[in-house]
């Protein structure tokens, strides 16, 4: 465990080098939040509620969504693809560490980095500059736990694509496809309530909604209560366990085809 914590600390420090980048990420977020404000303002067009959501609730949802989006970027797939191409993956495989946990802790350092440098400033901006009122409720309390589980689920998808890199030359196409599927089907851009009913029902059965829809709902509608939130957390927990197990099984398959050149 101690060695994994060292990895975590290391990757956090590496993240610090790119302080300059955070300014641009925050600037990008401010512009995005403004643009979505105007967009959703035009969509609501004076309506009180749409699909049971007020304008404020929807806006908190989508604006926070953009901050969470940056937070959940693990870059594990890109990093693994790079390490495979350069042959560096070999040096991880001969060490007495587990590849899945290695990648998880490496990326989790970046998670903590972006949390403190991008997501928290964005939330402060949302409250103090955009003057969005986030109602107090039990949802806010469990949001951090839900966010970490969302991170773990998202990590599994990235790690899975990273493992696919054992088979193909580059993962560009796979990564982009994965990202689009998650962004659209998870409710990262639009709350799931806006989807047509039939599609909504299907989406709730898929793991993607546990990445964005679940944590974002906890902040947008924090007063929904335990009856709603407990099952949501349970579903997240289920997907974390299932996807961690599945990617471990897949690793055993993929490792057989790995050929390393150079290094």
């Amino acid at each position: 465990m101690k060695s994994y914590l060292a990895l975590l600390r290391g990757s956090y420090m590496v993240g610090l080098v790119y302080r300059f980048g955070f300014l641009f990420s925050i600037a990008g977020n401010i512009i995005y939040m403004s643009v979505t404000y105007f967009l959703w303002h035009s969509i609501y067009h004076g309506r009180e509620t749409m699909h049971g959501l007020t304008f404020d609730q929807t806006y908190i949802y989508v604006a926070l969504g953009s901050a969470v989006f940056i937070l959940l970027k693990t870059y594990v797939d890109w990093q693994m693809s790079y390490d495979i191409r350069e042959g560096m993956i070999a040096s991880y495989l001969i060490k007495p560490i587990d590849l899945q946990l290695y990648e998880l802790f490496m990326s989790f350092g970046y998670f903590l980095m972006s949390l403190s440098a991008i997501t928290i400033p964005t939330i402060l901006l949302l409250i103090f500059v955009f003057r969005v009122e986030i109602p107090l409720g039990v949802g806010l309390l469990i949001f951090p736990f839900s966010l970490i589980m969302a991170y773990l689920i998202n990590f599994c998808f990235d790690y899975f694509v990273g493992l696919l890199g054992f088979y193909t030359e580059s993962v560009w196409g796979l990564s982009i496809t994965k990202e689009i599927i998650i962004t659209v089907l998870s409710g990262a851009l639009i709350p799931l309530q806006f989807f047509p009913d039939a599609i909504q029902k299907i989406l709730l059965w898929l793991p993607f909604q546990a990445i964005y829809y679940t944590p974002l709902t906890m902040v947008a509608q924090p007063t929904l209560g335990w009856d709603t939130f407990l099952p949501m957390l349970g579903i997240q927990l289920f997907w974390v366990a299932a996807l961690f197990g599945l990617t471990r099984l897949f690793y055993n398959q993929a490792i057989r085809v790995l050929r390393i050149s150079g290094g």
């Binding site: 300059f20 196409g173 659209v184």
Partner: protein
């Protein structure tokens, strides 16, 4: 000095070889094209979901927005296909490999950009063309000769605007350690280009028209075909905006290239 025809001939020679080399990785090409196709459709999916709840967005129908989006996809394709090497500037600068581009009797930007011809961008171009044709049939747009000419001119200028914004961001690599965040911001901004500009209030509309002219990538030119009676006179400046912006970008590129001193290996 080389003439323009020399350069065009040379470009074909270089890219033929490049495509031959890329075709060794056929599976990669197919997967990337599929990825490109999906990523093009994502915004359409968002529009579709939004329009399942509302009849129009600030006076624009779903089909009209799809038309604007099709225009947008065609307009950003030249950057994707011909200028994709923008993303690598930062690596070449950081690792010192940028030096090799100084040693050819060719225009440096030409030589540098000719190194990559992004095949998967062709999927985006094709999807854009299909959307534009489909929506113009549905919307009964009458393609007179004058309109087709207008389409070509506005698409040309829109492409230049898109290339310029991205290339300017890429050039940041000559001055800062890591230009990725700057490029990321430019990339994110690009996604706002297909939205109707009339949803924004004064300050933002001003910014997206005069400072970062995203409006010229898709919205203003599309207005010419969708609402010819309400066109703002601004659109007639679009060739000037495109060419002017590209000239500015070329100047920044030259400054960057001249200030680059290489790195130790």
């Amino acid at each position: 000095m080389h003439s323009l025809t020399d350069y065009i001939r040379l470009y074909f020679v270089i890219e033929t070889q490049y495509i031959k080399a890329r075709m060794q990785y056929r599976a990669d090409f197919i997967i990337s094209s599929i990825g490109m196709f999906f990523s093009s459709l994502a915004t359409l999916g968002v529009f579709w979901v939004i329009f399942s709840s509302i009849p129009d967005l600030a006076g624009w129908t779903f089909l009209q927005l799809v038309f604007i989006y099709g225009f947008y996809m065609i307009a950003i394709s030249p950057m994707q296909i011909l200028f994709d090497n923008i993303w690598q500037i930062r690596f070449h600068v950081l690792q010192g490999t940028f030096l090799k581009y100084y040693f050819r009797p060719l225009n440096m930007m030409f030589y540098y950009m000719s190194e990559v011809f992004d095949l998967k961008g062709l999927t985006q171009l094709a999807a854009g063309i299909i959307l534009l044709i489909y929506t113009s049939i549905q919307l009964h747009i009458d393609w007179t000769l004058a309109r087709v000419a207008l389409l070509i001119v506005t698409l040309f200028s829109a492409s230049l605007v898109q290339i310029s914004i991205t290339l300017m961001a890429g050039c940041a690599a000559f001055w800062v350690l890591d230009s990725y965040p700057v490029l990321g911001l430019a990339w994110k901004l690009r996604e706002f280009a297909p939205y109707p500009m009339n949803i924004f209030d004064g300050a933002f509309r001003f910014t997206f028209t005069y400072i970062i002219p995203l409006g010229f990538i898709a919205f203003y030119p599309s207005q010419l075909f969708l609402q010819p009676q309400q066109v703002s006179p601004l659109i007639y400046f679009s060739p000037i905006v495109g060419i002017g912006l590209f000239a500015l970008t070329y100047w920044i590129w030259t400054l960057g290239v001249n200030s680059y001193t290489g790195t130790g290996s």
